[in-house]
Every structure is written in structure tokens, then in C-alpha cells.
Amino acid sequence: MRHALRWIVMAGVWSALAGTAWGAEAPVPPAESSSTILEAIAFYAMAAVALLSGLAILVSRNLVRNVVCLLAALGAVAGLYFLLAANLLGAIQLIVYAGGTLVLITFGVMLTSRPGSDRQLVRGWERIAGGVVCVTLFIGLCMVLLCTEWATVAASAEPTTVAAVGRALLTDYLVPFELASVLLLVMLIGAAYLVRRDGESGAEDDADRC
């Protein structure tokens, strides 16, 4: 078990990081077949990384290892974005998620981990029930997915450019864009408010006292 986990983690991180770059090749339109094999290999590799690191998160009880697994999963998804010709989104996924959010979560892990008294997982029968629910959910989703006739339109050869996304953000989606910035501001204030300490204003005081 330990060894299996090790290989999953290592393979995950490595190929996620490598895959991100590899998938970054100027995307090939899906209809044409010259490099579909390469694309398929890239897809399967990154899908495997994402799924395996997801499973590793599921079974591992070590929070910091989970962080690394999540990094692998996020990297793999970013690679898939590159494969889907959403370069901007892939880069943003890496920079915001992997660079920013994960560091934040790591902070959380380190601020709150305690001598291994906490039980990480729920009781056994609950675990089984959860598994059953998830498998059922998955089967249901798959049935829906496979039974639906998706009206796919032939995609254009050109990848979506940064300029196009930017234009869309500032024209059609201006209101959600502004709302998102308001949300970020609220989040900033909220997070600062939540973690403040009563009666003192944090480490600055400590430094001054010295």
C-alpha cells in the first residue's frame, strides 16, 4: 500500500508537471487526425494522473501528501485545458490554483495539524455507504452522458486567444466580472476578519514589543 501510494504520488507529480508543458503545443483541431494519437496519449496520461492523484487523496490520511496529490491533479487538469486549446485558462489554473490556493491550503494544514489524535476518516460503514453512493452517482452520470446526443459543432482550427477571452470578459460578461472582483474583495475582508485575534492586532505588536 505504501509503495503503491508512493508511485502514484511520484508519477502524478512528474507527469502532471511534464504533461502541462507537453500539452501546451499549439492545439490541433479535433477533426483532423495527423496528431490525434499524440493527443490521445496526452489525454490519457493526464487523465490517469488526475484520477490517480484524486484516488490518492481519497485513501491517504496525510494532509501534506494530499496537498502534493492535489497539486498533481490540478496540474493534470491544467494540462487538459491546454489540450483543449484553452491556454489562458490552463495558465490561470496553474498560477492561481497551484501557485496561490495551494499555498493557502498548506498554510491551513500547517496551522491546524495536531499530534495525530484526529481520526481522518469516518467510520467504516459510513465509508462503505459513501462508496456506494459515489459509484451509483458515477453510473448515473455515465448513463446520462452516454445516452445524450451531444450536438457537437466542428471546432475551428484556431485556439481561443487571450484577446478573445479578454474581450468577452469586458463586453458580454462585464457584470459577472465586476461581481467576481467584488466577491474577491469581500473574501479578502472576510478572511482577514475571520482570522483576526481578539484584543491584539497580530504579529506586528509582538515585533514592536521587542
Partner: protein
């Protein structure tokens, strides 16, 4: 962090018992307090000092120095050998200022026995003591830069110190443990050409001190790191028995060379620099660019302690020049019997070492071997204030404070 918390509890129950309930109650319910060993193997504890830190994140709640890793029974050795034979042991107390140690012990024994030291010997002693003060302060200055993460001043300081070592080597053949100053004078006379070489060195050194100020002392980052950090009030400094630059940096003008002169220091012209608030202009010898205390500095902080040493180097240069001027031909050593019998009685003598007042209590009982030798080391007393100053400061301030106190573990542990 979970595992670490476990580990730190093991084997140190007594230390955990010290955690005062008040801190735990006032802070949040469970901030992760860690016990961290700084030393005995740590790059910035200046030897084998171990400081036990109780930290809350980056904030140090408590710092407890633990000493004794370099204990060599110096005082016990003193009770078993004749004073002449004890001189090499004094070299190894504060090994950065061996000349000063030799001098202090020699004066103590001379006062006990009642020996008249020839004029030339006294002058050479002052010359050597002040040169060694410069060498010692150079190490202190450089190592303090190192504590702050500035590597380069350290090597500059050592470059200059090497030349002092060269001078010492020419005089006595040793570069660290000299045993040059001895009871009744100095072991041998100065070699030919020493005076010229020494003057040349002083000419070379004086502008260099100014360069150090430009490079390190007035560096904004350095001032931000050292200024206002580890402030010791004058009252505290006196209460903890601080001496030397640490005491003077707190604004107390106390220097044994001036207040209780020995070896004819009263005939020399020098000033005692003290810690000054921002904008202050410490006195410097003529011909030296006037330094000025920058903004952000408080009397008694790390920067003041550091800077008092820098100014003292200027004055030591001045003193060495005067001593060179006073050097006249004559005897370099008093005539003493082969076996020096110590009279019944005791003497306690303190001299102004680079790190503070080094005191020797020598009790004679009529035999050649003293019945008791007690050493009062300045570093030991200076170090004792660490736990008082390092309370609620940041982790990075601990090396800054310990470095500014400038201890030599050889003298703390003896």
C-alpha cells in the same frame, strides 16, 4: 508540525513545566508553541552556546541560554600552577583578546606581589592591548555582519585582523595565544622595525573603518535590523552587571581605563564613546570623518552596541599612536626571582577588556602557587541578559541580539 510537537516534548518535561499558564491563557487556545534548540551547533551562536527558544511562530517567547560546553576548569588550573604558568591559560579565556587577558592577570599578580614594571614594558603592554582591542572588535564587527546575513564585511575585518596578527607574530611568534604580556613586563622586546610597520598599519586601518561604516553601519537594511532591537536600558544594564561596550551602549559612561585607570592610562588622551540617540555625534579622534547616528536608532539597542565598538576602534588607533610616540628605550621586563612566592593576602583586579571588565581574584598563601584564582568574565555577565532581552522578539532578532552582545564562549565557560 504534528510530529514535531510530539518530538519536542520527549525528554524535556522540566522545560515544558516552565510554560507559564498565563501565556497559554491569554493567547488563543492553542497556538503552536515550539521549543527550538538554537545551538550548540548553530552558525550564529558564536561557539558552543545553546539557546533554548520557546517560540510561537516566528515570535520568540522565551530564550534561555545553556552554557558549559566548553568548560576547561581554568580556575582550578590556576590553583595548581604558578602565576607564570597560568598566563597561557588566560590566553584561552577570551581567545580573541589574549593580550588583554595576559595584561589583566599580570597586573593583578604584580599588585599582589608589589612589582614595579619598567616604563617601556608598560607602554608596550598598552600598545599590544589596544592593538588586540582593535583585532577583537574587528572580529566582533565582521561576525555581527555575518549574523545579519552580510558576508563580505566579515572577510574585510579578517583581512585587517590578519595584519594585526602579523604584527603580534613578529613580536612574540604566536598568532592567537600570545602569552606575551607577562608578570613584570613583556616576555621579549619589540623587534626592529616594529614601530614603522605598526604606524603603517594604523595609516591603512583608519580609512578602512570609515569604509566599514559606509558598507555596513549606515546600510539601511542593517539599521532596520539592528536599530531599536534588543534595547537594554541603563538601569537594566547595570542591574545585570553588564560591562564594556554593552554597558556603554546603554548610555553609561563607564570605562575602567578612564574611571579607575591602571597601567598609566590616565596619561593618554582618549574619549569613552557611549550609545547616542539618533542624530548624535560620537566623539572621534582628530582627522577622522565625524560619524553620525542614523535615524531609527535608540540608545541601548543592537546598533548602539555595534557602533560603540566601531568608535572604540578609532580611539584604540589613537591610543596605539600615542603609545608608539611614548616608546623609549629601556628594560622590557622587571627583574624577578626564578620562583615567585606570593605573599599572604588577596587581590581583586579588573581591567577593561574589549568585551568588558575582566576581573582576577588571586589569593596568595606564601607559596608560589595561589590558593585561589577566580575569574570574572565579562562575556558571562553580558550573556546573562539574553533571556531578559530576547523576550517577545522575532526569531531573526535572536542572532542579532546575541551577536551584538558579542560573547566568546571560551570566557563564558572558562
Amino acid at each position: 508540525m504534528a510530529k514535531l510537537t510530539d518530538k519536542m516534548v520527549e525528554g524535556q518535561p522540566d522545560l515544558l513545566a516552565d510554560l507559564d499558564a498565563e501565556t497559554l491563557a491569554t493567547d488563543d487556545l492553542l497556538t503552536e508553541e515550539m521549543l527550538v534548540n538554537m545551538g550548540p551547533q548553530h552558525p550564529s551562536t558564536h561557539g558552543v552556546l545553546r539557546i533554548l527558544l520557546r517560540t510561537d511562530g516566528e515570535v520568540v517567547r522565551e530564550a534561555t541560554p545553556h552554557i558549559g560546553y566548553l568548560h576547561r576548569c581554568a580556575e582550578k588550573i590556576g590553583e595548581n600552577v604558578a602565576p607564570f604558568q597560568f598566563i597561557p591559560t588566560t590566553d584561552r579565556l577570551d581567545y580573541l583578546a589574549a593580550m588583554n587577558n595576559n595584561q589583566t592577570f599580570s597586573v593583578a599578580v604584580e599588585q599582589l606581589v608589589g612589582i614595579e614594571v619598567p616604563e617601556r614594558a608598560v607602554t608596550i603592554r598598552i600598545l599590544m592591548a589596544e592593538l588586540n582591542r582593535i583585532a577583537s572588535h574587528l572580529v566582533s564587527l565582521g561576525a555581527y555582519g555575518l549574523d545579519m546575513g552580510a558576508f563580505t564585511p566579515f572577510l574585510y575585518a579578517f583581512r585587517e585582523r590578519e595584519r594585526i596578527m602579523d604584527l603580534f607574530e613578529a613580536a612574540c611568534g604566536a598568532r592567537l595565544t600570545y602569552s606575551y604580556i607577562t608578570i613584570g613586563g613583556v616576555t621579549m622586546d619589540l623587534p626592529d622595525g616594529f614601530t614603522d610597520a605598526c604606524r603603517e598599519f594604523l595609516e591603512y586601518l583608519e580609512p578602512k573603518i570609515h569604509e566599514y561604516n559606509q558598507l555596513l553601519s549606515y546600510n539601511q537594511i542593517f539599521i532596520k535590523r539592528a536599530g531599536g532591537v534588543g534595547v537594554i536600558s541603563a538601569a537594566d544594564a547595570i542591574a545585570w552587571g553588564l560591562t564594556g561596550p554593552c554597558l556603554r551602549a546603554s548610555g553609561v559612561r563607564w570605562d575602567l581605563r578612564r574611571c579607575m585607570p591602571y597601567e598609566g592610562y590616565e596619561q593618554y588622551d582618549f574619549e569613552v564613546p557611549i550609545g547616542l540617540p539618533q542624530g548624535g555625534e560620537p566623539p572621534v579622534p582628530p582627522g577622522v570623518p565625524q560619524p553620525r547616528v542614523p535615524r531609527g536608532v535608540v540608545v541601548g539597542d543592537c546598533w548602539s552596541r555595534y557602533f560603540v565598538r566601531v568608535i572604540e576602534m578609532y580611539w584604540s588607533v589613537h591610543l596605539v599612536r600615542q603609545a608608539l610616540d611614548r616608546l623609549r628605550p629601556g628594560e622590557h621586563k622587571a627583574k624577578l626571582p626564578r620562583s615567585l612566592k606570593l605573599p599572604v593576602g588577596e587581590i581583586y583586579f579588573e581591567g577593561e577588556n574589549p568585551r568588558g571588565q575582566l576581573g582576577f581574584l588571586v589569593i596568595g598563601d606564601g607559596s608560589p602557587v595561589p590558593s585561589r584564582v577566580k575569574v570574572r568574565g565579562p562575556s558571562f555577565n553580558n550573556l546573562s541578559i539574553t533571556s531578559h532581552v530576547c523576550r517577545d522578539c522575532l526569531l531573526a532578532d535572536v542572532p542579532a541580539i546575541v551577536g551584538s552582545i558579542d560573547i566568546v564562549m571560551g570566557e563564558v565557560d572558562r
